[in-house]
């Protein structure tokens, strides 16, 4: 019993600083938001069960995020099976540095990124869910978890090169999605020649 108590204490000591990031990662990744708590619960319980295999001094953050990642995949797979169809995913167009999309709208975003907070918060969340699972995981692990490429490769279980291409593709698709949806809806002001903003 004492061992169980010690194990629990040590586990919680590692876990507590990561709770916010883990929850954010799940919330932005799970298709069915009602399952976020279940996914977290399952991931943490499985990690705790295997905590005996964790070597102190190694990377607990990457270790526990891997359980979360696997839980998310499992949950989303079940969701898609229930729907009997994949979420609509646009084909990725890779270009290493030309970020694509509507140039004037992209220019607006680049000049005034604070517009994101005013106009595009929902679009961003939607755009993340439209990404391919690996691309989404890589983008969120980088953004929310602040992991290095090597750590992301371990968590997601893909080669380092795949992490780099996934991240590049995900970032590009996020920008394309933002400019496309907001440009189409007229929510994002276009940049005029004199630098002032105007709605189309």
């Amino acid at each position: 019993m004492k061992d169980d108590g010690d194990k629990c204490e040590r586990f919680l000591l590692h876990l507590r600083p990561l709770q916010g990031a883990l929850e954010a990662f799940c919330r932005r990744s799970v298709y069915d938001v009602s399952l976020v708590e279940d996914v977290l619960q399952e991931a943490v319980t499985r990690a705790f069960r295997d905590f005996g295999l964790f070597a102190e001094g190694t990377n607990f953050r990457a270790w526990i995020f891997r359980y979360a990642h696997l839980g998310i995949l499992e949950s989303n797979r079940g969701f898609l099976t229930r729907r009997h169809q994949p979420l609509e995913v646009e084909p990725a167009v890779e270009d290493e540095w030309n970020l694509g999309g509507d140039d004037s709208l992209l220019h607006t975003l680049l000049e005034s990124p604070e517009i994101l907070f005013e106009h595009c918060a929902d679009d961003l969340i939607h755009a993340v869910l439209q990404l391919q699972p690996v691309d989404r995981a890589v983008l969120l692990l980088k953004g929310i978890g602040e992991f290095k490429y090597r750590e992301i490769a371990e968590i997601v279980g893909v080669p380092l090169g795949t992490v780099m291409s996934s991240l590049s593709r995900a970032r590009q698709q996020m920008r394309q999605a933002l400019t496309k949806t907001r440009g189409g809806q007229g929510g994002l002001p276009r940049q005029t020649g004199d630098g002032s903003h105007t709605n189309p």
Partner: protein, 271 residues
């Protein structure tokens, strides 16, 4: 490094990845190229804004994490002081005494402890989480198995003529008492029979309150019906989600078959 090469590597530069040589070259280029320097700055600010948008308002939900942590905490704290241990023991004794007193006083109250324990084992056996120790559809073989594995007398379980299709049997512990069980089906529904020594009555104080004139006792635990009967040297419980009359028929059939294994003898002779 030209502009195209520099911009091709902005992800690595932004994420502090890649080797030092690459960062050195990109930095050198940015020092001499104001356009690229501005371009890099814009990309970085936009990426940070996107990331910030994704994580904003994402504080951990205290209620969720409280529930998760509660699941992890072992049932008893690891570091317990001696006085707390003795205090708890004394309190437990006091509560137990009170419960016994109340139980004896109120003879119509249910027997939740034995009921809950038997339903828990029944659920494990019928949900597939646990297989019976001895899998067989032969009532005689199950009876033989039980007799070899429990220290108290066991009579033959109900057979097909009582509408019971046996699936297997085994032994388990109900609180601190050993019990034999037989699992099977009645009308397509899973039913378990638990057989304890009559001596176990004294370990379940709530059962001592059953009036002697009352041959069987019916109670419900969740969706389960439970029928309890004292028979010969046994205490027998029938548990399942079937009507009480069907459980009663099983209890009536328990032990009503000949002791000499005549069926088995006939079967062995025939083979």
């Amino acid at each position: 490094m030209n502009c195209t090469q520099a911009r091709q590597h902005w992800h690595l530069f932004h994420d502090s990845e890649g080797d030092a040589e690459l960062h050195l070259q990109v930095n050198e280029h940015l020092e001499h190229c104001p356009e690229c320097a501005r371009w890099f700055q814009q990309q970085i600010v936009l990426e940070e804004a996107i990331t910030h948008s994704l994580v904003s308002g994402m504080e951990p939900t205290a209620a969720i994490w409280s529930r998760i942590e509660q699941q992890l905490v072992p049932p008893q704290p690891a570091r317990i002081k001696k006085w707390l241990l003795f205090g708890s023991a004394a309190l437990t004794l006091l509560v137990a005494s009170l419960l016994i007193a109340v139980s004896i006083e109120n003879s119509s109250s249910p027997a939740p402890e034995l009921a809950a324990l038997s339903v828990a084992v029944h659920d494990k056996l019928t949900s597939g989480r646990e297989e019976p120790n001895f899998v067989s559809s032969s009532h005689v073989d199950i009876e033989d198995y039980l007799k070899q594995h429990v220290s108290f007398p066991v009579r033959c379980p109900p057979r097909e003529d009582a509408g019971f299709e046996a699936r297997g049997g085994g032994t388990c512990r109900l609180a601190n008492d050993s019990a034999a069980y037989v699992v099977g089906q009645v009308d397509g529904e899973s039913v378990s029979l638990f057989i304890l020594s009559r001596d176990s009555l004294s370990h379940f104080p709530e059962l001592q309150a059953i009036p002697q004139r009352q041959r069987t006792r019916h109670q419900r635990h969740g969706a389960h019906d439970i029928l309890l009967m004292e028979f010969d040297q046994n205490l027998v419980l029938a548990v399942g989600k079937v009507r009480a009359e069907r459980l009663q028929r099983l209890l009536d059939a328990y032990g009503s078959y000949p002791h000499d294994h005549s069926v088995k003898s006939v079967r062995q002779r025939a083979s």
